[in-house]
């Protein structure tokens, strides 16, 4: 194989089937592999593709500014924000995007804003008043209205809200038929489509949880967790240890006396795998621990299953991995 073929591979000029064939040849020859690495390194550093047009650059730059900077206050604010971002990035060693949502002096009304965190990623964004919302993997949030006296959001998935309470401004989270209102506070709400319950856990402050039919109206105290069944509308309130609640914002799994069934859904959301149980009884096994998300799923499974003497197998096909627990 000549250099030119490797170049064509790197510069993506080969048809897919040929690509695979060339690739297989390269990985089998240390010599070709070295050439490949050298060429790819140089090519990537060359900056040789068509430049972005002025308009495209302008658009990127304003996107950049909107994300990280509050225009009216200018650079001073950016520095504050950037400092904050640095703290997060350093503390949690992960990549986050900070969005700035609205300028308090000029509230955006009746404008829907959509944010999401894809599989295996966590996003956070900051509201104009400094409140922070963290989105867990596979989650999305719509800010449906920001008015002088209220902010309303719709949530799918899981989020942690660290809201700076303002008596003159209500902050409301809608999840299906539940309405959760901040009364000054830090709390998490979980409402994944593959969950059969909605949970709201209060870490600090006070929140009110209501449903649209007015059958439920509860004010939670710190450390309380409300679980609401989607099937029949019943709910329970438990007092839990919130030390690990919201640990996912630090890219860690937090499992406190959690059942394997619940853990499996967290792993599915993060790693994009399918987990099935041979015996439903296994779903009731419980586990407590905090695990780094940057680790591989095999590691996580080893940690969880080994002490309980449970075995698992992985069946990998094209783009999906199926895991069977038995």
């Amino acid at each position: 194989m000549d250099k030119n073929t490797i170049w064509q591979l790197i510069t993506k000029q080969l048809p897919t089937d040929k690509e695979k064939q060339v690739w297989d040849e390269i990985v089998q020859s240390p010599e070709l592999l070295t050439t490949y690495k050298d060429l790819k390194r140089t090519w990537s550093l060359s900056g040789s593709q068509p430049q972005f047009s002025d308009e495209q650059l302008e658009q990127r730059y304003s996107q950049f500014k909107n994300r990280y900077q509050k225009p009216s206050i200018g650079t001073k604010f950016l520095r504050q924000f950037a400092g904050y971002a640095a703290a997060i990035i350093i503390a949690f060693a992960a990549s986050y995007a900070l969005w700035h949502i609205s300028d308090k002096s000029k509230p955006i009304t009746n404008q829907v804003m959509h944010f999401e965190a894809g599989q295996g990623s966590i996003n956070s964004f900051v509201l104009a008043d400094g409140s922070i919302i963290w989105l867990n993997s596979n989650s999305s949030i719509d800010i449906v209205s920001i008015a002088d006296n209220s902010v309303e959001v719709n949530l799918t998935g899981e989020a942690l809200f660290d809201i700076i309470h303002d008596d003159k401004r209500r902050f409301i989270v809608n999840v299906r038929n539940l309405i959760i209102e901040d009364l000054g506070t830090r709390f998490t709400v979980r409402n994944y489509n593959n969950d059969n319950e909605i949970t709201a856990t209060l870490i600090d402050g006070e929140i009110a949880v209501k449903d649209s039919a007015h059958l439920l109206s509860q004010v939670l105290a710190p450390g309380q967790k409300l679980s609401y069944s989607i099937d029949d509308g019943t709910y329970t309130i438990n007092t839990i240890d919130t030390t690990y609640t919201g640990k996912w914002t630090e890219e860690k799994f937090e499992f406190v006396n959690k059942t394997l069934g619940d853990i499996a859904r967290d792993l599915e959301n993060w790693y994009g795998v399918t987990i099935t149980f041979k015996d439903d009884k296994l779903k009731q096994e419980r586990f407590t621990g905090v695990i780094q998300k940057s680790t591989s799923i095999e590691n996580v499974l080893d940690i969880i299953t080994y002490p309980a003497g449970i075995k698992y197998s992985i069946n990998a096909s094209k783009n999906t991995k199926e895991i069977m627990i038995h």
Binding site: L45, S48, P50, F52, F64, G272
Partner: protein, 195 residues
């Protein structure tokens, strides 16, 4: 070359926004191109580039170098590390086939061993200049203006007092010349986007 552009480092360090924007515009395209070689999803590559500029904004006061070239090396190094982190995280996910995982491993290896300094970019430039020296005068001037100063054909025509058609013809000639002259440097030609 590309960054024969003038960047006032003291203005950048003091947080002068127009200067920052100038740096952003000068390097965005090539940084994106870099990230895109290793990160499959365009949106992810774009995010990493944006984060790199955020990092520049955050650490601008503490930049050690004082030349535009040193910013370039700093930006590339920062982006390289971000790509590396991203790939390592991705490679732990399971929804990839062996072929993709293999590619991740090799890319991680390339990035892990990549040292970027001003000299890195000088090497590439030197080769190009060597080729340019062999060109007829007018032809070279047109090519340099177009390629390195990013001037539009019309602007070149005005400043050299020739027609736009002549500018186009000269660029074509320059490219052809480079192609012939650099045939031993095929990688470089591709590298410079000339083929």
């Amino acid at each position: 070359m590309q960054y024969s552009l003038d960047i006032d480092m003291s203005l950048l360090k003091s947080g002068h926004e127009a200067t920052f924007e100038q740096v952003y515009n000068a390097f965005y395209s090539s940084l994106y191109f870099f990230a895109n070689q290793y990160i499959n999803k365009n949106a992810d590559a774009e995010n990493l580039v944006q984060e790199t500029f955020l990092a520049l904004w955050m650490y601008k006061e503490n930049l050690s170098g004082n030349t535009p070239g040193s910013i370039k090396a700093w930006l590339y190094t920062t982006l390289k590390n971000k790509c590396l982190n991203h790939l390592e995280k991705e490679s732990h996910k399971l929804n990839y086939n062996n072929h993709q995982l293999h590619q991740y491993k090799i890319d991680i290896d390339i990035l892990g061993h990549m040292e970027i300094s001003e000299v890195t970019f000088d090497e590439i430039e030197r080769l190009l200049y060597k080729a340019l020296e062999q060109m007829p005068e007018q032809c070279r001037r047109v090519f340099e203006m177009s390629r390195f100063k990013n001037l539009k054909n019309k602007e070149i025509a005005n400043s050299l007092n020739i027609s736009t058609k002549a500018v186009e013809a000269n660029i074509t000639r320059a490219l052809k010349h480079l192609r012939i002259h650099l045939k031993d440097y095929l990688p470089l030609c591709i590298l410079l986007g000339l083929l």
